[in-house]
């Protein structure tokens, strides 16, 4: 705790960590998958894709989105930075 927090001039803001932790835990609650299982899924996904493509395994992101009734698993899988691709006109 800093001097400013002690004298009440700066917030300790534990509410911020409450919100962040809630948002994380609710992602798993809502999808019905534990953090461990999600991480296993991510590893499997990386294995499978890596067999076909060179990907940036460090930056793979698996998230859930929810729109009304529809839940969606979204995988953001960047290709390896060294991978040179020809730019395609839009």
């Amino acid at each position: 705790m800093s001097f400013f927090e002690k004298v009440g001039l700066r917030r300790s803001r534990s509410a911020d960590s409450a919100k962040e932790r809630l948002q994380l835990v609710l992602v798993h609650d809502r999808a019905g998958i534990s953090p461990g299982k999600l991480s296993a899924l991510k590893d499997d996904l990386i294995d499978v894709i890596s067999r076909h493509l060179e990907i940036d395994t460090e930056n793979v992101e698996i998230t859930f989105t929810r729109e009304r009734e529809q839940q969606r698993l979204v995988a953001d899988i960047p290709l390896a930075p060294t991978h040179r691709r020809r730019r395609v006109a839009p």
Binding site: F4, G8, L9, R10, R11, S12, R13, S14, A15, D16, A18, K19, R21, L22, Q23, V25, L26, D29, R30
Partner: protein, 268 residues
């Protein structure tokens, strides 16, 4: 006019479901509406003591379901408000003594004679909860500004939507404005952001609620108390009236404002 059946639930225990039910009952009845509160927490009866009617119980809800008495005989009239009634839970039985169909049947029977039927749900997501939401036209979810209570509220919101009882509205209970201001308690906006649900009311932490419960006199009977007035506002919103949400910051005095100015200066 047929009654609207509203179930008050939460998932987590101890967040104030029973207090909310009793006070909404009192608040609606004070508006001249005919109200009956049902304690659906079979085996853990409590709405009777919160309403101060524990000494008048002869029959309970399970007696009605099992045909030992007429519905009218299990209805206890409030001491202070003549258009407010309680149907107590059985204390010596468990949740399996009643089925969701029993609840629907009971609710429909009550619809004709009342404007509002309030069902106090037990904690949890099992049989008791299923019973409590079965007859509901609308659901109110009570939570506190705490990680565990909000998480459970999210689970309940999901279950209510799955049962097509949704979307439900949120009562945020036991808010401490001072802690919110310091950033040490989840703010209303944070909770609404996380839960994506409509708010129906914010009830500040108020020691007078404990005093009221000690005496069996629901706080909403006294509109001058902060919690009592918050419950009365929720009741008005329930009836469709547009009542602005209380600004929890209104209560900070001179020092609150000064310290906020200093904080803003320090961080800017």
């Amino acid at each position: 006019m047929a009654a609207t059946i509203v179930t008050i639930t939460s998932g987590k225990g101890g967040v104030g479901k029973t207090t909310a039910t009793a006070n909404l009952g009192v608040a609606l009845a004070s508006m001249g509406l005919r109200v009956v509160c049902i304690d659906a927490d079979i085996g853990l009866r409590n709405l009777d003591v919160v309403m101060g009617l524990e000494n008048r119980i002869v029959y309970d809800f399970v007696d009605v379901v099992e045909g030992r008495c007429k519905l009218r005989q299990a209805m206890i009239r409030d001491k202070r408000l003549e258009n407010l009634y309680l149907i107590p839970a059985a204390q010596t039985r468990d949740k399996t003594a009643v089925s969701p169909q029993d609840m629907v049947r009971l609710g429909n029977e009550l619809r004709e004679d009342f404007d509002w039927v309030l069902v106090d749900s037990p904690a949890g997501i099992e049989r008791g909860f299923r019973n409590a939401i079965a007859p509901a036209d609308a659901v109110l979810i009570v939570t506190n500004p705490e990680v565990s209570a909000v998480r459970d509220a999210d689970r309940i919101i999901g279950l209510i939507e799955a049962e097509e009882k949704g979307p439900g509205r949120l009562i945020l209970n036991r808010v401490k404005p001072e802690m919110v201001k310091r950033g040490d308690m989840l703010a209303t906006e944070d909770i609404l952001d996380v839960l994506a649900i409509e708010l129906i009311g914010i009830v500040p932490e108020d020691e007078k609620v404990t005093v009221a419960t000690n005496q069996g006199v629901p706080i909403a009977l006294d509109p001058r108390t902060r919690a009592g007035s918050a419950f009365r506002n929720i009741a008005r919103r329930l009836t469709g009236e547009e009542v602005p949400f209380e600004n929890m910051d209104d209560h900070d005095g001179f020092f609150g404002r000064i310290s906020r100015l200093m904080r803003a200066g320090g961080e800017g």
